[in-house]
């Protein structure tokens, strides 16, 4: 292929021709090149239970445990090792796994579900981390609050005998807007709290009231309703107290806490009064 004996080529074009020849030869021998590639998918990491291979063709949403087939075309095999290679920039602060980009979908789902449960336990139930509130809700998420607000709205709407849609819309809007406004309140009082962390917290603290609303829906007697709702109201306020009070200056604690309690008390009245 090289005509170097007949025509004097410019040195750079000779090297280009050599390169092209090499590529053609490499293609021909591609079948032998493939097995030499190290099977890199297993190199990936921490959260993964089976080897992920995100980039081969026919990718399923739940990638299976089978490694990529050796037969496929060169681009696919080239993509598989590259896909499971390390990430460009992932500066993680606490040692959170840098390979979340290549994990299977099911792992993401499990991780998020586990986070919801752990956040709930941290906020609502007694546990040793309550003394250090900033640490506790470090991994905030908004799924839990979303479910609880919707659940509370649905329960109230179900209990209402008339105007069900309005009840739901009003409950949802008040709870959502209330959480946002309460967070703004803390921020304006000079408190140190992160917006989403506080939204998440106020949402999780609705869990006891949601249980109270469920019980009230099933139970008709007013006295029982009052007792149950007061217990759950106290529980919600107890859950919200450390986080809110730690966020602001001690002299302004009452200013930050009063609106929170007010909101929960009004939701409690709503639950009792709904008919």
């Amino acid at each position: 292929m090289s005509h170097s004996d007949t025509i004097p080529l410019h040195p750079s074009s000779q090297s280009d021709i050599d390169e092209i020849e090499n590529l053609i030869n490499a293609d021909v021998h591609s079948a032998t090149v493939l097995p030499a590639r190290p099977p890199s998918p297993p190199r990936v990491s921490i959260p993964i239970s089976h080897s992920p291979s995100p980039l081969p063709p026919y990718q399923k949403v739940h990638p299976s445990a089978s490694p990529p087939p050796v037969v496929p075309a060169v681009p696919a095999a080239a993509a598989a090792p590259a896909g499971s290679s390390r990430i460009g920039i992932s500066s993680d602060a606490f040692g959170s796994p840098p390979d979340t980009l290549t994990e299977p979908v099911w792992d993401t789902v499990k991780r998020d579900l586990a986070r919801i449960v752990s956040n709930l336990k941290l906020v609502v139930f007694p546990n040793p981390y309550r003394e250090d509130p900033g640490r506790a809700l470090r991994d905030w998420d908004l799924w839990g609050p979303f479910f609880f607000i919707v659940f509370l709205g649905l329960t109230l709407s179900w209990s209402a005998s008339a105007k069900k849609s309005e009840v739901f819309a009003v409950a949802f809007a008040i709870l959502a807007a209330g959480a946002i406004i309460l967070t703004l309140n803390v921020l304006l009082l000079g408190g140190h709290i992160i917006f989403f962390q506080s939204l998440s917290l106020l949402g999780y603290c609705l869990f006891p009231l949601a249980i109270g609303a469920l019980i009230c829906m099933l139970e008709g007697n007013v006295i029982i309703k009052i007792v149950v709702v007061s217990i759950t109201l106290a529980w919600s306020c107890w859950a919200a107290y450390p986080f809110m009070s730690a966020a602001v200056n001690p002299r302004r604690k009452a200013l930050a806490l009063y609106p929170v309690f007010l909101m929960y008390i009004s939701v409690a009245f709503f639950i009792i009064a709904i008919d």
Partner: protein, 183 residues
């Protein structure tokens, strides 16, 4: 296997693309068609917002990773400050991403946001505050994803530039060194 070798690229991740579009289309379709069939606002609200939230999760955690190799999230560090993290695959993998996949990804994101804006305008015109609430929630979810991924992409481009300038610099120094060593 033959599909990948044809000159016109096909979708490399058809199922992921499907899910990416599925929830968006489902929530839009349900919202638009429900007015014809369903009387109860509560059902419309809950189903539409639930589908929009599922779509948000799928785009953020699954299709963003698989179709364009980007991911963003928020962390709170030891001092209590919130940090937004943007992550992308390394340059080779980014360059190998299927063009059709990323075209679909970005365009469906933008089109969904525009559709929700139109629906918001409709409900404003008809003075329906409760439907405006639904549309508002879905719109904010779409916008959040758009903003997150756009920032991620800008980050990735910055990295590419840095990487390129680094490799140029290292090539220059190595060729300079070899030139001097020859001399």
């Amino acid at each position: 296997m033959e599909r990948v070798q044809t000159t016109e690229e096909n979708y490399a991740n058809p199922k992921t693309c499907l899910f990416h579009v599925l929830f968006k289309a489902a929530s839009l379709a349900f919202y638009i068609l429900s007015a014809l069939f369903i009387d109860s606002f509560v059902i419309i609200f809950v189903v539409t917002v639930f589908l929009a939230a599922l779509d948000f999760w799928v785009v953020k955690n699954v299709s963003g990773r698989i179709l364009v190799g980007l991911r963003w999230w928020n962390e709170i560090d030891e001092r209590g400050e919130s940090i937004w993290k943007f992550e992308c695959l390394d340059q080779e993998s980014l360059a190998r991403m299927n063009k059709k996949d990323s075209w679909l990804f970005w365009w469906t994101l933008y089109i969904t946001a525009v559709a929700w804006i139109f629906l918001a305008i409709f409900s404003l015109i008809r003075f329906q505050a409760d439907y405006l609430l639904v549309v508002g929630v879905c719109l904010s979810l779409s916008v959040a994803n758009i903003v997150g991924f756009t920032k991620c992409r800008k980050d990735a481009k910055k990295q590419i530039q840095q990487f390129a300038s680094q490799t140029i610099a290292s090539h220059l120094t190595s060729s300079l060194q070899s030139a001097f060593s020859i001399v």
